[in-house]
Symmetry: C2
Subunit: 337 residues, 2 copies
C-alpha cells in the first residue's frame, strides 16, 4: 500500500510496461489473462486509484453532467433532479448537483467551475434567465440547457411547463365549481412564473365574461408557507361581501400556508374557501385537506433536459429546442368538498 500509487508504480510492481497497465484499465480484452491478472493484483496491493484529472486531461472527455439548482430545499427541484439523474445514469454519466440558493453570485461561481472542469453539459435553473453569463458559457462551447425557465431568444435549449395554461386550468376548474369571486395569491410579479400563471388566470376569467374586479389579487413578496398564512389573514379581514369564495395560489407552499390559516381560524375548506395550489408536491396530497393542484411533470422535465444536453454534447447536427410541457389539474378535496 503506497501513499499515492501511479500507473508507473503499478507497472514496476507487475513487471510490465506502463502502456500495458493502461490497457488493463481501458481495453482489458487486449491484454492476456495472465498479465491482466498480475497487473490487477499489483493495483489492489498498491491501492492504486486512477487519477481522474490526468485521465481527463489526456482523454479530453469528462464523464459528468451537472445541474445547478435554484433551491435544493424546494421539493419541486429535487424531483426535477431525480429525473435528470435517471437519464444521466442511463447514459453512464455521473450527475453532480450544485445549489445556488437563489444567489446569482453562487450560481456564477458554480458555472465557472463547471466550465473549467469541462463537464459534458450543464443544466441550470438560473436566478435570472437573461443573465449574460449563460450566453457566454454556451457560446464558448459548453452545452447548456435551461430548466423550468424560458427566454425569448433561442440561444440554448430549454424545458419548461406552460404556466399560462396552468393558470387557465386552475381558474376554469374553479369556474366549473361555481365560484364567481376568486383570489389570485402570489408574488412577486418579477417572477416569470407568477406573471404567467396570473396571466392565464386572467385570460380564463375574461373568457368567462366575468367582471375583472372579481378576480381579486393578493400580492405576496415570496412563495413560501409563511406568505400563505399571511395572505389568509388578509382574506379573513375582508368584508363578507368582498371576500372571495376560492383562492388560486401561485404554488403549493403558499396554498398550504393559506390552508393552515383558514383551518386554524375555524373555517371549513372548501365550504368557506376553496383552494387550488400549483406544483402538486408530495405534501399537497398529504395535507389535512388534500389539495387540488396543478401538476407539472417534474421528472419528465428533468429527463428531457438531460436528453437535450446529451444530444448537444454528442450530436454535431444538434440544434436548440424549446420544449414546453403541458400541466394537468389534479382535483382533490380542497375544491371538491
Amino acid at each position: 500500500m503506497v501513499r499515492n500509487a501511479s500507473v508507473k508504480d503499478v507497472a514496476a510492481a507487475a513487471g510490465v510496461s506502463l502502456g500495458t497497465v493502461s490497457n488493463v484499465l481501458n481495453r482489458p480484452d487486449r491484454v492476456s489473462p495472465d498479465t491482466r491478472e498480475r497487473v490487477q493484483r499489483a493495483m489492489t496491493e498498491l491501492g492504486f486509484v486512477r487519477n481522474e484529472s490526468a485521465r481527463q486531461l489526456r482523454a479530453g472527455t469528462s464523464r459528468t453532467l451537472a445541474y445547478v439548482m435554484l433551491d435544493a430545499s424546494n421539493p419541486f427541484f429535487t424531483d426535477v433532479a431525480a429525473g435528470i439523474d435517471v437519464a444521466a445514469e442511463a447514459a453512464d454519466l455521473s450527475l453532480m448537483l450544485f445549489n445556488s440558493r437563489n444567489s446569482s453570485d453562487r450560481e456564477h461561481s458554480h458555472l465557472a467551475l463547471l466550465e473549467q472542469q469541462r463537464v459534458q453539459g450543464v443544466l441550470v435553473t438560473p436566478v435570472d434567465p437573461d443573465s449574460a453569463a449563460l450566453d457566454e458559457l454556451a457560446q464558448r462551447g459548453t452545452p447548456v440547457v435551461v430548466v423550468d425557465r424560458t427566454r425569448a431568444d433561442q440561444s440554448f435549449c430549454s424545458v419548461a411547463v406552460d404556466d399560462v395554461l396552468g393558470g387557465r386550468l386552475a381558474i376554469e376548474h374553479l369556474l366549473d365549481r361555481g365560484h364567481v369571486r376568486v383570489a389570485f395569491v402570489g408574488g412577486p410579479a418579477t417572477l416569470g412564473q407568477v406573471r404567467d400563471r396570473r396571466q392565464g388566470a386572467r385570460a380564463a376569467w375574461k373568457a368567462a365574461g366575468l367582471p375583472r374586479e372579481d378576480l381579486v389579487e393578493i400580492a405576496t413578496t415570496g412563495l413560501d408557507v409563511a406568505q400563505g398564512r399571511e395572505a389568509g389573514q388578509r382574506l379573513a379581514g375582508m368584508t363578507a361581501k368582498r371576500r372571495p369564495t376560492a383562492a388560486f395560489c401561485a404554488n403549493d407552499l403558499v396554498a398550504l400556508g393559506l390552508l393552515q390559516q383558514v383551518i386554524g381560524a375555524g373555517q371549513h375548506v372548501p365550504d368557506d374557501l376553496a383552494i387550488v395550489g400549483y406544483d402538486d408536491i408530495e405534501f399537497a396530497a398529504a395535507a389535512a385537506v388534500p389539495l387540488t393542484s396543478v401538476r407539472q411533470p417534474r421528472q419528465e422535465l428533468g429527463r428531457t433536459a438531460a436528453e437535450l444536453v446529451l444530444d448537444e454534447a454528442t450530436n454535431p447536427a444538434h440544434d436548440h429546442r424549446q420544449v414546453l410541457f403541458t400541466p394537468e389539474l389534479v382535483a382533490r378535496a380542497s375544491t371538491l368538498g
Copy 2:
C-alpha cells in the same frame, strides 16, 4: 475567439511567455499592470477558460468537497446539505452534491468517482454505515466524514444526533401530558435510527414505572407519509380499551400521514390522539394541526461535518472525532391542544 484556447495561445497573442500568463492567473500582483492588462485582454478575446484538470494535476490540490446524500427528496438531508454548503463557502470550496437514492451501488460508484477526482473530502450519509467501501476509501487517504450515522469503531469522523435521547424526550413529554397508553410508530427495525428512538422511548417508559405492554408498537415498513396513514388505520381499528391516547412517530413524514388519517376520520388532535413527530421539518409547523416534534440541529450537523472533514484534509495532527448533537423537543398544538 478560439475553440479551446490554452495558456500557450494566450501567451502568443499577448506576446509574453507562458509563465507570465500563469502568473496573471495565480499571482496577479507579481506582474506589471501593463502586461497584466494585455494578457487579460488576450484571454477574453480568445475566450480562454482555464483547464481545471491540468491545473489540478499539476498543483495537486482540488477545490471541491462532496456530499453523497441518501435521499435528496427528504428535506432533512437538503437542510444538512445547506449547512455543509455554508461551511464550504466559508473555506472557499465548492460543494458538489450526489444523490445515492438509497442504493448502495449508486453510492459506491459516486464514491469511486470522487476518490479518482481527488476531492478534498467526502461527506456521506451511507446506505450501510458498516460498508467496507467506506473504510477502504478512508484508508487510502481520502478524508471521510459520516453524517447522521454512527459506527462502533472509530475509523473516521462522524456527526450524528442522540436518537436515544430524542426518543426519551418524546415519551417524557407525553407522560407529562398525562398519557399512560402510547404507540410507537415506525420501522423497519433494521434502521439504526428507528432502533435508537424506540430504545429511548422504552427507557423513559420503564423509568416511569409503567407496564411495558402499554407502550404499543406499530411497526411500519418505511418512513413515509403513506406508511403514516396506514398506521392510522391500524390504530383506528383497535378497541377503545386497547387504543393508545398518543402516538410517537419515528419521523415527521409518518406523523403527517397519521395526522391526516386521524383528521380525515373525523377525530380530533390532540384530544382523541396526541401526536409527536421527529425531525421538525418545515412542514411540521405548517401542518393543519402544528406538529410537536423532536428537532435535530440539521444545519449545525452539516456545518460541523464540513469542519471535521476540512480539519482532516488540512491538519496533519487530525484525529477522528465522533460528534453527537443533542435533540430538542418542540411542543406544538398536536400535543398541547
